[in-house]
């Protein structure tokens, strides 16, 4: 389809569908489900949104580990609420991906077969209670930095889902920080536990922003489509600048000997992430990759009879009502 557009009253320009699409993006017009979009845009979004949804789903597992071991009823209630939120975030996102034509069953099948990825951070184990603090404070802190710009992403349903997610996410980060603060103000052992947690979680959290810009081939196109609004390195820098003062407040040491304030750039210089470890975990060789997927598959399979029974029940009820209507 070609559309004629008059420019400066004289020239007539013919725009292809793809150019029209880009013009709408450039004008910050949101794209909605039934609008025409390039296949690659649709594919990129389905991949990104479903990966994001999978991350929320798998993200429940490391925290689920601590629900029965939370140190108090208050902490347990909070953790339960937080894990329930993660499930909700997954559902918002799956439903956004479905508006693009992806099927829920297919997305889950791809997760379970290992074809689809989720955030590598969840392939690290949660060994101590301080890890619940670190997951909330650092991991959710990093997630928020990623997610806030996504509230303005070009695809309407994704942006709207992210608005809802972001509203809930700040509770997650604050409860994590509160756990850390409580530990840091406690006994020397508790403070040591907090420091040990930070030591293990700092670098994997920095990896959450993804590969270096120079090694992230999709970034340019995603920025052009305004799916992404900041590059991986920009967000990583922001995160470090945000978190270092918070660690200082807690009296904790960030485990990076190269961390140094840079007056000229008004930000921190920091050491290089261990990219070998990053790619290794992405490829499935992290500490918990197998365990996480196994837990997901098991939950899904063990829930199969519930899904089938609910459908059968709904069908039976429908038939009963129809029979009643005929009799009446």
């Amino acid at each position: 389809m070609l559309v004629k557009l008059c420019l400066r009253g004289m020239e007539t320009l013919e725009l292809t569908q793809e150019e029209q699409f880009q013009a709408r993006i450039d004008a910050d017009v949101r794209i909605e489900p039934k609008d025409w979009m390039p296949d690659a845009y649709r594919k990129t979004l389905i991949r990104q949104i479903s990966q994001h949804a999978h991350s929320e789903l798998v993200g429940m597992l490391p925290e689920g580990n601590w629900i029965t071991r939370a140190p108090s009823l208050k902490r347990k209630s909070i953790l339960l609420a937080k894990v329930q939120d993660e499930a909700g975030h997954g559902l918002y996102l799956y439903s956004a991906a479905e508006t693009l034509g992806a099927s829920r069953d297919q997305m889950l099948a791809d997760l379970h077969s290992g074809k689809a990825k989720y955030s590598s951070i969840f392939n690290y184990p949660t060994l101590s209670w301080a890890d619940m603090g670190c997951v909330g404070w650092l991991v959710d802190g990093a997630a928020i930095l990623n997610q806030v710009p996504l509230c303005r992403t070009s695809y309407g349903p994704y942006a709207r889902a992210m608005v809802r997610v972001c509203k809930e996410e700040s509770f997650h980060q604050r409860q994590g920080f509160e756990i850390m603060q409580t530990l840091c103000e406690g006994s020397p052992e508790q403070k040591a536990m907090a420091q040990e947690g930070l030591n293990r979680w700092w670098w994997p959290t920095l990896m959450m922003f993804g590969p270096k810009d120079s090694e992230s081939p999709n970034t340019a196109q995603s920025m052009n489509w305004r799916i992404k609004r900041f590059t991986n390195d920009e967000l990583r820098q922001k995160f470090v600048d945000m978190m270092v003062p918070q660690a200082e407040f807690l009296g904790l040491t960030v485990p990076d000997p190269n961390l140094k304030w840079n007056e000229a750039k008004q930000g921190y210089d920091f050491g290089d992430v261990d990219w070998e470890e990053f790619w290794n975990v992405v490829k499935g060789n992290g500490l918990c990759n197998q365990e996480r997927l196994q837990a997901r598959v098991q939950a899904h399979e063990e829930g199969a009879w519930v899904r089938e029974a609910a459908l059968a029940h709904a069908e039976k009820r429908k038939q009963r009502e129809e029979a009643k209507a005929v009799a009446a």
């Binding site: 025409w36 956004a96 809802r164 609910a310 459908l311």
Partner: protein, 95 residues
């Protein structure tokens, strides 16, 4: 194992008495009752609603965005439908 997906439902929430129901998203459920219960858990965990509507997605019919230009064209040239089209003398109040 059955490969049948639960049907998809669109969820509408009235955030407070006096306001209209607004579309918030969708979810899967076996029937309407379950859809409402799931909608409560997914979309109103923080008192976001006082009333929930669910409609099976297959029952929603939508206009085609590709036809937008022609479809909404009749409203395009009727600026006299807007109050700002009319000139009211400065001395006339309350109009």
């Amino acid at each position: 194992m059955s490969q049948k997906e639960w049907p998809l439902w669109e969820v509408f929430i009235r955030s407070k008495q006096g306001l209209d129901h607004k579309h918030v998203g969708s979810l899967h459920a076996a029937d309407a009752e379950m859809a409402i219960q799931n909608a409560r858990d997914v979309y109103t965990r923080r008192l976001e609603g006082v009333s929930i509507w669910v409609v099976e997605s297959k029952h929603v019919h939508a206009s085609n965005p590709d036809d937008s230009a022609a479809f909404y064209e009749p409203a395009n040239d009727k600026i006299y439908r807007h109050p700002t089209f009319y000139q009211v003398p400065d001395s006339i109040k309350h109009m």
